[in-house]
């Protein structure tokens, strides 16, 4: 299969993939994927269902441990994060991830946000309150939920729940943020809010987002990676991919011929 990869410099990238192969049992989900994900930029992973983009994304913070076998090298700030000696928990503190379904814990809003901090060893009440306040502001939830942080997180609307989850991920100040179709279950207004949040987060976060929403990819991302049948087919600046893709296949996908 033809591929066209216009990769940004590895030195400017937080995550560098080198010949990554991923297998579920005997079945290969990702073949020979190499890519650089530039620092403090948003990279969108697009492609039809089953093209392996989610699998690839999950490998970046080792969520595939015990589920899939990942070969090759995934460098995070120069370190191969696939190294078996890597402490996945420390890794996940630095590389956060948000999933498709809003999944707040069945607890109060406060507990949802305080738990990760407690678990990370932060027991300073004042500091916790400050951080919670800060992240709620970042995701624009504060004026919506008011001051009552003791209400159940499950009572929030779907969009609010997802932004709460985003806030929860941001608490630990990750350097890299992985998002797996974070807005696919949300209404357009909530989606827009999340997108706004992401654009402002770019200042101190490297963001990689899997999305089926091509408009979303074109709206917010700086780079776009097109996955097809387990391979990274095209990687380029978003504008280039959407306006003038190199491969015919990419062209067909972004113009909506298949997907």
């Amino acid at each position: 299969m033809d591929t066209y990869l216009n990769l940004p410099a590895a030195t400017d990238s937080d995550i560098v993939a080198k010949n990554v192969n991923i297998y579920y049992g005997k079945q290969q989900a990702i073949t020979n994927c190499s890519a650089n994900f530039p620092r403090h930029q948003i990279t969108a992973l697009i492609g039809p269902s089953g093209s392996g983009k989610s699998t690839f994304l999950r490998s970046i913070n080792r969520m595939n441990d015990g589920i899939a076998r990942v070969e090759g090298e995934l460098l995070y700030q120069g370190q191969n994060l696939l190294d078996s000696r890597v402490n996945v928990y420390n890794l996940r503190h630095q590389i956060g991830m948000l999933f498709q379904k809003p999944m707040p814990f069945a607890k109060s809003i406060y507990e949802n946000l305080a738990l990760p901090l407690h678990e990370a060893g932060n027991h300073n009440q004042a500091d916790i309150a400050k951080r919670i306040d800060h992240v709620l502001k970042m995701v624009d939830l504060q004026h919506e939920i008011g001051t009552d942080l003791n209400q159940s997180a499950l009572q929030l609307s779907g969009g609010q729940q997802q932004r709460l989850c985003l806030a929860r991920t941001l608490l630990l100040e990750p350097k890299v943020l992985l998002l797996d179709e974070p807005a696919s279950a949300l209404d357009p207004i909530s989606t827009a809010k999340i997108e706004t949040n992401l654009l402002s987060l770019k200042a101190h976060c490297t963001i990689i987002i899997v999305t089926h929403n091509l408009e979303q990819a074109s709206r917010i991302s700086d780079y776009t990676a097109f996955f097809y049948q387990g391979q990274l087919a095209e990687f380029d600046r978003t504008k280039k991919v959407f306006l003038n893709p190199t491969l015919a296949m990419t062209e067909r996908y972004v113009s909506g011929d298949f997907g």
Binding site: Y76, Q77, Q79, Y89, L91, Q94, E119
Partner: protein, 305 residues
């Protein structure tokens, strides 16, 4: 360089502790299960290895005579047939009722169903089997006697007592099975103009059929293993149950009746453990059956998808 990535942390220690705890708990359960299986197996097999009873005779003959040590006449066939017959009858009586109740709880009136019907059926689970036997003896047997003559003791009495005992088991599993059908399927069927009855028959029952079958199999397993209640009403006679009112004996009732009177290590005792082994093999079969049903339905689903 990001040295921190390689540092150990309390999370790693917590995980080690957690894995240790849960796997040791699982080990305890498995060791226990294996110990019991081994125990029953080794004792049950002694009848054939130590006392040289012909295995085939044991399965096919219908007498139970351990007094004559020179030529013991031992056979579990009648016991097995009776166990199967009582269980089958009980399940035949209970399954339709349990299904109706489950449908009522899930579809007709979840509110009354959840608040009254289900708790009431589950209450039956907590009543000890002695009590079922007691009521069977004092209420059911006289009724059967008046109705059909004879003594009243026999297969039918046992089956009816069992039917009541397994009602909660099948009902609650059936409720679970029906609840397992996504609500959206129902909504979709209603939106096509289906009536409630059509939704029940063509959507709910059809989709949950394998799980309902599993519910019945578990009911069968419970009925098969029940001892005290059956023993009180079945009449305890080792013979082939030719009619519904023939006194008979099941594997478990024989086991319960005789166990205290045998000497550990003698043929009479070993033969009873062989019955326990038979019971074990039967529950193994029920189990495999349930698994098979589920697996087949799953593979069919995945093909149709």
């Amino acid at each position: 360089m990001n040295k921190q990535l390689f540092n150990s942390s309390k999370e790693i220690r917590q995980d080690k502790l957690g894995r240790l705890l849960v796997y040791s708990a699982l080990t305890v359960v498995l060791v226990l299960a294996c110990a019991m299986l081994y125990f029953i197996f080794s004792k049950g097999i002694a009848t054939f290895t130590q006392d040289h009873i012909n295995f085939w005779d044991f399965l096919t003959r219908s007498n139970w005579n351990t007094d004559n040590l020179q030529k013991p006449d031992l056979g579990a066939w009648a016991l097995m047939v009776t166990s199967a017959e009582t269980t089958l009858l009980a399940v035949l009586v209970t399954t339709p009722l349990a299904l109706v109740i489950a449908i009522y709880i899930v579809v007709m009136s979840p509110k009354i169903g959840g608040r009254i019907v289900q708790p009431l059926t589950e209450l039956l689970l907590g009543i000890p089997s002695v009590v079922y036997g007691f009521v069977g003896l004092t209420v059911l047997i006289p009724v059967l006697r008046r109705w059909a003559g004879g003594t009243g003791f026999g297969v039918l009495a046992a089956a009816l007592v069992l039917a009541l005992m397994i009602l909660p088991t099948i009902t609650s599993l059936a409720v679970e099975a029906l609840n397992g059908v996504p609500q959206s399927y129902q909504t979709f069927a209603y939106s096509l103009g289906c009536t409630k009855w059509q939704v029940i028959v063509h959507v709910l029952l059809k989709i949950s059929a394998p799980n309902l079958l599993v519910a019945v199999i578990f009911g069968v397993a419970r009925a098969f293993g029940e001892a005290l209640a059956v023993q009180m009403v079945i009449g305890n006679t080792v013979q082939l149950p030719l009619g519904l009112f023939t006194p008979a004996a099941t594997l478990t009732s024989k086991l319960t009746t005789d166990m205290g009177n045998t000497i550990d290590g003698t043929l009479a005792s070993n033969a009873l453990w062989s019955l326990a082994l038979l019971l074990l093999v039967m529950s193994l079969i029920f189990n495999l059956l349930a698994k098979l049903v589920l697996r087949r339905s799953q593979s069919r689903e995945s093909i149709s998808r």
